[in-house]
């Protein structure tokens, strides 16, 4: 926790944004990437440096590298060129950004974040900018601008909320991604992004867990699920010929509260008898490459299709993770497809053909489970979640890159009797980010995370006071890792859980022993316990 309380206030912007000077303060920056991680990924300019240093040890021709990099990307991405050109600075995006609301720093207005890049674009790539310079909104590219880019492009979670409100659909995530790509060309990157990426490249997952450690974690979860249910639950690893390859974010088998979600998955798969395997090679669904460059995204994503091909599965099922689904939904097929070695996904239980995944052949676990529930194939006892009064946080990427809004709600409303939505303009496509996405979720950045997370937490506080909400559910691994801290600070008394954790609580499994506690080991609410034995539970 920061030593002094984070004060959230609104301040009228002052000064001139064209002044690139930035003060690097502990608590609101991410530290630089260690040289070994750049080395592991063959990235340029590995060295020891920190953002607070006066000398960033940029390569001598850094300016040419950045401008050439911009030129190349302007040719390769219509989004980039277009978004550099058409903004009218109407300001509709300004107060839509959680970082602007939480920090009152005017350069956190999405329009200004983009102008930091646009001003350089205008100066070096447009006729008016070359002729008229600052009058045409151009700025010289200096080392201070690089430092400013670093500060603000690593103070954007690529959540795309601003883009929902933009009359031209200008997507700040695209601009931040380009900014980070350019910074990566001269070795200005953060460790919280590159260490997971380097780990993922080598071991298969962000946490750097090697295959035997992976097996230990999975076996441990399987044993615990067996103990809770009294059933024999086993998880196949790297098994060839399974129908489904299940891919999840590594935090699910190594983090809390993610772990309870994993228990939920395992129980569900056991109950329906899913023919599946997990993989120690494709042991990460998440993709921190998305937070450094398109190339890195593709490098890290490749293993998912490769492994599906090697294991000769029919299709891919993906766990609860936000940015993983941004990549699986909008990039994977284009980058590493076509997935013609797989089959169009069909639920082995209900026979539903997942038409919306016809080409990518990857299905979201919430789609899969919602379909099971819709067909009444699961026996659920929602009273087992009566100790929770839940709300649902739409994770940015599933909401604004997929539109996966009703599937998780379908599950929640079937497994839990106390459910209340947060205010309309803070959920669904207008959902507020946790403030820690896109590789910003590190402790050294805590003050800025708390500031950026304020709008989300404030909406949680609203439903806590109005309805007594004590559980925030979500379907994103970064949410699960960072929201507990955020809520502890802003809304003490509200826990965080995955949707499939609540499903695991409510799932009445064939032949299970009488359950008195939820997956966290907390006793069920008294009433639910007295009437909620398996034999009495009703169909949802």
């Amino acid at each position: 926790m920061p030593e002094t309380l984070v004060q959230i206030e609104q301040k009228a912007p002052r000064g001139d944004w064209r002044d690139p000077h930035v003060e690097f303060r502990k608590g609101s920056i991410c530290y630089s990437a260690a040289a070994k991680n750049l080395g592991a990924l063959s990235l340029p300019n590995p060295r020891a440096w920190q953002p607070m240093d006066a000398d960033w040890k940029l390569p001598p021709d850094w300016k040419r590298i950045v401008l050439d990099g911009m030129k190349e990307r302007l040719k390769k991405y219509r989004s980039f060129r277009l978004f550099m050109d058409i903004c009218v600075r109407c300001g509709a995006c300004a107060d839509k950004c959680h970082f602007y609301l939480g920090s009152a720093d005017p350069k956190n207005m999405p329009v200004v974040r983009a102008e930091l890049m646009r001003s350089i674009y205008r100066r070096y790539f447009t006729l008016t900018g070359r002729l008229f310079g600052s009058l045409a909104g151009g700025r010289e590219l200096t080392e201070d601008v690089i430092k400013e880019w670093f500060y603000y492009f690593y103070q954007c979670t690529e959540c795309r909320r601003c883009s929902v409100f933009c009359p031209y659909g200008i997507d700040t995530a695209e601009i931040t991604m380009m900014g980070r790509e350019l910074l990566n060309l001269i070795g200005c990157n953060t460790n919280w992004v590159l260490e997971p990426a380097a780990n993922c490249f080598r071991t298969g997952n962000h946490l750097g867990i090697q295959p035997h450690g992976f097996k230990d974690s999975i076996d441990f979860a399987a044993e615990e699920a067996s103990e809770i249910t009294g059933l024999d639950i086993e998880v196949p690893i790297n098994r060839k010929g399974a129908e489904v390859l299940f891919v999840m974010p590594s935090a699910d088998y190594f983090g809390t509260p993610h772990y309870y979600t994993l228990l939920g998955y395992l129980m569900l798969f056991r109950e329906i008898g899913l023919d599946y395997t997990v993989s120690a090679y494709a042991s990460e669904g998440g993709n921190f490459g998305l937070f450094s460059s398109h190339e890195m995204m593709k490098r890290l994503n490749a293993k998912i299709y490769d492994e599906a091909r090697r294991l000769r599965v029919k299709w891919i099922l993906g766990g609860e993770c936000g940015h993983m689904w941004r990549v699986l939904h909008q990039y994977m097929d284009t980058m590493n497809g076509p997935a013609d070695f797989l089959e169009v996904p069909v639920s082995p239980i209900t026979g539903t053909v997942f038409e919306n995944a016809r080409s990518t052949r990857a299905v979201h676990i919430c789609e899969f489970t919602a379909d099971l529930i819709h067909h009444g194939t699961l026996k659920l006892d929602p009273r087992r979640n009566d100790h929770w009064i839940a709300t649902y946080h739409d994770s940015c990427n599933p909401a604004r890159a997929m539109g996966l809004l009703e599937e998780p709600r379908t599950i929640l409303k079937s497994v839990c009797r106390n459910f209340h939505e947060m205010p309309e303009n803070t959920i669904r496509e207008q959902t507020f980010c946790c403030g820690s996405g896109a590789g910003l979720g590190t402790d050294e950045n805590l003050e800025m995370r708390l500031r950026g997370g304020f709008p989300r937490a404030n909406a949680v506080k609203y439903v806590k006071e109005k309805h007594g909400v004590n559980l925030l559910t979500c379907i994103c691994a970064i949410d699960k890792a960072t929201l507990p801290t955020l809520l502890e600070y802003w809304v003490p008394g509200v826990e965080v859980a995955g949707v499939h954790e609540l499903l695991g609580n409510a799932l009445v499994m064939t032949g299970e022993k009488e359950r008195v506690a939820d997956l966290r080991g907390e006793l069920f609410a008294p009433e639910a316990h007295s009437v909620g034995s398996a034999s009495e539970a009703s169909h949802a």
């Binding site: 058409i86 490249f201 071991t203 303009n425």
Partner: protein, 341 residues
């Protein structure tokens, strides 16, 4: 300072028009030469900008989804805000271009007493929409000057626009709306601290220029009572490539004309190109069908990955001791370390 420079430039253009209109040489330049130059700049510049965008590929399928996806028949999909078909995209783009759908969502955030309060905020949407529609109406009304006979729809629009029959000549609603909306947008730029902070020269320049065009137009119609037949003679001459500036047009007309020429020449090199750009915006004009139809990236470069054989080689012993099946035959490529178990 940006706003002052912008105002000064617009005033200078207007003054040049006024002064030029009073000299015979100036009248020839303003009425017979500059309009062609402006038209060429506009057309060539506009096409060039659109082509620059169109030439850049759309490597990835990145729509921003603003509603429920199409997944199951029993979940109602947001067919327009999250389109899954080309028809849906068409509807979404139409809503965006004709109704400013996204701007309609606008809200205002305030922080007070520890609470974040989000309230409805329709003023920007309303004024932007009013301005653009009024401007379109005014442009269409101007067709009367370029076409003989005047098309029926132009006459109909005029009747609609002067519905209230106030004054003589009757007041056009679009004139009132365009000036009021531009005025609001300009005042907003001055008064809203966040918008003032982000405003550049070009933002003020565009507004002042449009305002000056509107005001000079209004002056001619309602106050100096320009003879429209003279204007039409010039316009038809220009359209027929036989430009001839008739007498009696008055200096304000030349100011109006020069301002319009300035706008047309400036447009392709400015943010006003948003009128063309919106059609190409990849977060809006793509259907959310990236999992059901493969999107092709024309420059899908190969990248260095960590392949399964490389991975297995590195972790082979650990895999075997953990009882995870391995793929590569014992001894293949690494006979020295081969173990049997």
């Amino acid at each position: 300072m940006n706003e002052i420079y912008a105002l000064l430039v617009v005033l200078a253009i207007a003054a040049a028009g006024l002064a030029g209109g009073q000299m015979s040489f100036g009248r020839i330049a303003l009425a017979e030469v500059i309009p062609y130059a402006a038209a060429i700049l506009f057309l060539a510049g506009f096409c060039w900008r659109i082509m620059r965008w169109a030439w850049a590929p759309v490597p990835f399928h990145i729509p921003v989804t603003c509603g429920q996806q199409k997944s199951f028949r029993w979940i109602r999909a947001a067919k327009i805000d999250n389109p899954s078909t080309q028809w849906g995209v068409l509807a979404r783009m139409a809503a965006e271009i004709l109704l400013f759908r996204s701007l309609f969502r606008n809200s205002r955030a305030q922080i007070g007493g520890g609470w974040l309060i989000l309230s409805e905020s329709g003023a920007l949407w309303l004024s932007a929409l009013a301005f653009h529609w009024a401007l379109l109406l005014i442009l269409l009304r101007h067709l009367r000057l370029f076409l003989e006979p005047v098309p029926a729809f132009v006459n109909a629009l005029e009747r609609l626009d002067s519905f209230f029959q106030l004054g003589a000549p009757p007041l056009y609603l679009s004139d009132v709306v365009v000036i009021a909306a531009l005025g609001y947008l300009l005042i907003r730029r001055f008064r809203d601290p966040a918008v003032r902070f982000i405003s550049l020269f070009t933002d003020y320049f565009g507004l002042f220029l449009l305002l000056a065009i509107s005001v000079t137009g209004v002056l001619m119609r309602y106050f100096t009572r320009i003879d429209v037949l003279n204007v039409k003679e010039l316009a038809l001459g220009l359209a027929a490539m036989r430009p001839q500036a008739p007498q009696g047009l008055g200096p304000i007309f030349f100011a109006h004309l020069l301002l319009v020429c300035a706008l047309a020449s400036y447009l392709p090199f400015s943010k006003l190109m948003h009128m063309g750009g919106i059609f190409l915006s990849p977060t809006r004009n793509l259907a959310n069908n990236s999992r059901s139809r493969r999107h092709i990236n024309p420059w899908n470069h190969p990248v260095k990955t960590h392949t399964y054989p490389e991975w297995e080689k590195e972790f082979r012993e650990k895999l075997q001791s953990a009882g995870i099946p391995v793929e590569i035959a014992e001894g293949a490529g690494d006979a020295g370390n081969a173990r049997t178990n």
